[in-house]
């Protein structure tokens, strides 16, 4: 019951923000709210990996970038030159190609957005699966370094290959028509629809992840966080569960990447940078690690402020500071600081007079 109420409140808040913005004539805020929503989709996935399953990932910007870049490249890079190749002919036969005109009026043959999106997410999932098998055997520093290394490799590949536009990234990415009359694009005329598309996705993600956390699987994941050895002796296949949740979070990150890229009309290498990954970790930490709503709330607040440019040139420094302060003073997150409850629980221990080892 409590869960349903929380969800209802969230839905009402989403609608209230839209109404408030249109009433006060500040609809342009919805653009940053939409972008924040897509980042939040990644962050709730990372929250389950880090907070619940206890596995740190410093490479999630990599999965976001894989989704965004692949979808961008497939829907903008002209395949006309290769129209004789078997692959392109096969794609054409399957109805996965669209023709159009480029900015100079030349013929343009590209992959349809739906196919590109599915392919991008699939690739991200596959990479997460393959890299997850060895990486998730590691713990602590090793795991942090390995995921950080993965993130840097993706960043370097995006930066160094001309197919992905090098330092400029890919621009002029076309809208993503979800269904007739509804497409993911960043124009002012579609602002409100896109706000709801993004938030619909995030709330769907929250519902699915909440279900997962409160299930048999979720308990197994949290048990892994508590003690991997004991979880294993309870019959939990720890390697497999860690891998599955890692892949799931990578899929969410890739979907976020695809949608945000089509919404922004482009993607650049900064989306794959280490700083982005660190930022996501910071937000999960501020939200309280094992706290889905907390991560979501902090994600909206911090991403929105950052995207509005409130932090100016101190953007990265602010996230670094947040990270340190949270880890030093409130490793449970700022929304979890509840002095009254802490005192009560202390009192409880004394009252029991129980022996603690």
């Amino acid at each position: 019951m409590k869960r349903i109420i929380a969800l209802l409140v969230a839905c009402l808040l989403v609608i209230a923000v839209e109404l408030l913005c249109s009433w006060t004539g500040t609809l342009y805020y919805l653009t940053q709210m939409t972008m924040s929503a897509y980042y939040s989709l990644l962050i709730i996935g990372l929250c389950v990996v880090m907070g619940y399953a206890g596995q740190i990932s410093l490479g999630h910007a990599g999965f976001f970038a894989i989704g965004g870049y692949l979808s961008a490249a497939l829907t903008t890079r002209n395949l006309l030159l290769f129209h004789d190749s078997l692959l392109v002919r096969g794609l054409d036969f399957a109805g996965l190609l669209v023709t159009g005109k480029d900015i100079y009026g030349g013929a343009l043959v590209v992959v349809t957005p739906w196919a590109a999106c599915l392919f991008a997410v699939l690739v991200a999932a596959t990479i997460a699966f393959l890299i997850g098998i060895p990486v998730l055997k590691l713990k602590g520093h090793y795991l942090a370094m390995a995921t950080l290394g993965f993130g840097i490799i993706i960043y370097r590949l995006a930066l160094a290959s001309s197919y992905f536009g090098g330092a400029d990234g890919i621009s002029a990415v076309r809208p993503f028509p979800l269904c007739p009359g509804l497409s993911v694009s960043g124009g002012p005329s579609t602002r409100v629809e896109n706000y709801y598309i993004a938030w619909g996705l995030v709330l769907l993600g929250v519902i699915l992840l909440r279900n997962l956390i409160n299930s048999r699987i979720g308990r197994a994941l949290r048990a892994i966080h508590g003690s991997e050895e004991a979880a294993e002796s309870m019959g939990v296949d720890t390697a497999r569960y860690k891998l599955y949740i890692f892949v799931l979070s990578a899929v969410l990150a890739a979907i976020a990447g695809v949608f945000l890229t089509h919404y922004n009309g482009g993607i650049g290498p900064s989306e794959a940078s280490v700083m982005k990954s660190v930022r996501y970790v910071a937000i999960v930490a501020v939200g309280g690690m094992a706290h889905l709503w907390g991560a979501l709330t902090m994600s909206i607040v911090l991403n929105f402020l950052s995207l509005r440019g409130v932090f100016g040139t101190y953007d990265d420094a602010i996230f670094g500071t947040i990270l340190i302060l949270i880890m030093l003073f409130a490793p449970e997150g700022i929304l979890r600081i509840n002095v009254g409850q802490k005192l009560l629980s202390l009192g409880g221990v004394f009252k029991k007079g129980g022996r603690k080892d």
């Binding site: 942090a144 660190v278 990270l323 340190i324």
Partner: protein, 296 residues
């Protein structure tokens, strides 16, 4: 490949390799006394270079370097005292995130102080086109400086840990913290000292390397990753192994220049790191049983 070219690549490899080894030893010193991997290790190298370049405007080179190393050591001490010292049994996850946060703060501070421009110290002897002949190849004297200074540092460190009482106390902390406390060793000061030491050697390496590699505010992360690769490859905590592994990585990198495009170099180095982590997480020289005893 001509013999001359071979020697040239070899020296380039040894030069970069010495620096990786120094960064890796910096990791090891802190890891041995605290069990922490300090993700801000690369930033010490960057700080050493940047501060000495700035100081050079006001004083001669040797003094600028000495002062830069001193200031970086103070920064190291400050980091330990402000962020690390008062934490009680922090989890690994917490320490990883804190040191990453520190590295971001140092980098951002450097960005605001020095901007994005690439700077470098002048060559200690002559200039960029001065060379000396070694075994028929033309080598910059700065290369000799780098190799010489790094060798000196390794020798002095092993003397320090091997013969001085403070060095021995630090090793005692590494071996068994509780026992060290019982023996009356102030482990907290030893931890501060380990930060100071690794900041110092990092900064000195940053100074001697600056003429060759140049210094920029965001040098740190790449160096940290490579230094960590080397530390793992040599067996975490094993500084002799770090020297061998550093030279190995440096030489592999130098010779791969002719095969792999420069843009992908870092990606390759990291791919090697991942491979090592997957295949031999105890390093090339480490033993599995020993590594199993360490808590991760």
């Amino acid at each position: 490949m001509t013999a001359e070219l071979f020697i040239q690549y070899l020296f380039a490899g040894i030069t970069y390799g010495s620096m990786y080894a120094i960064v890796a030893i910096g990791f090891n010193i802190i890891y041995n006394t605290t069990g922490i991997i300090n993700f801000a290790q690369g930033e010490f190298v960057m700080l050493g270079g940047m501060i000495s370049i700035t100081l050079l405007r006001f004083m001669p080179l040797p003094l600028a370097i000495v002062l830069a190393v001193g200031i970086t050591m103070a920064v190291g001490a400050l980091i330990e005292i402000v962020f690390i010292r008062w934490l009680k049994e922090p989890s690994v996850l917490r320490m990883v995130i804190i040191t990453i946060g520190i590295s971001i703060l140092i980098r951002e501070a450097a960005l605001h102080i020095w901007g994005e421009s690439v700077r470098s110290l002048p060559y200690f002897v002559g200039n960029e086109i001065t060379t000396t002949g070694i075994l028929g190849a033309r080598i910059s004297p700065q290369v000799i400086w780098v190799i010489g200074v790094c060798t000196m540092m390794v020798l002095l460190l092993s003397l320090f840990f091997g013969t001085t009482s403070v060095g021995r106390e630090m090793r005692a902390c590494a071996a068994n913290r509780t026992a060290a406390i019982l023996c009356g060793i102030n482990t907290r000061n030893m931890v501060t000292l380990s930060f100071v030491l690794s900041a110092g050697i990092g900064a000195l390496a940053g100074c001697v390397m600056s003429p060759i590699t140049s210094t920029q505010y965001d040098n740190g992360t790449g160096l940290a990753i490579k230094g960590f690769t080397v530390a793992i490859l040599g067996g975490l905590g094993n500084s002799g192994g770090a020297v061998a592994a550093g030279l190995l990585l440096g030489i592999i990198e130098a010779f791969s220049v002719s095969v792999v495009p420069l843009a992908f170099q870092e990606a390759i180095a990291i791919a090697i790191l991942l491979l090592i982590l997957f295949v031999r997480p105890n390093g090339l020289f480490g033993s599995k049983d020993l590594a199993g005893l360490k808590e991760f």
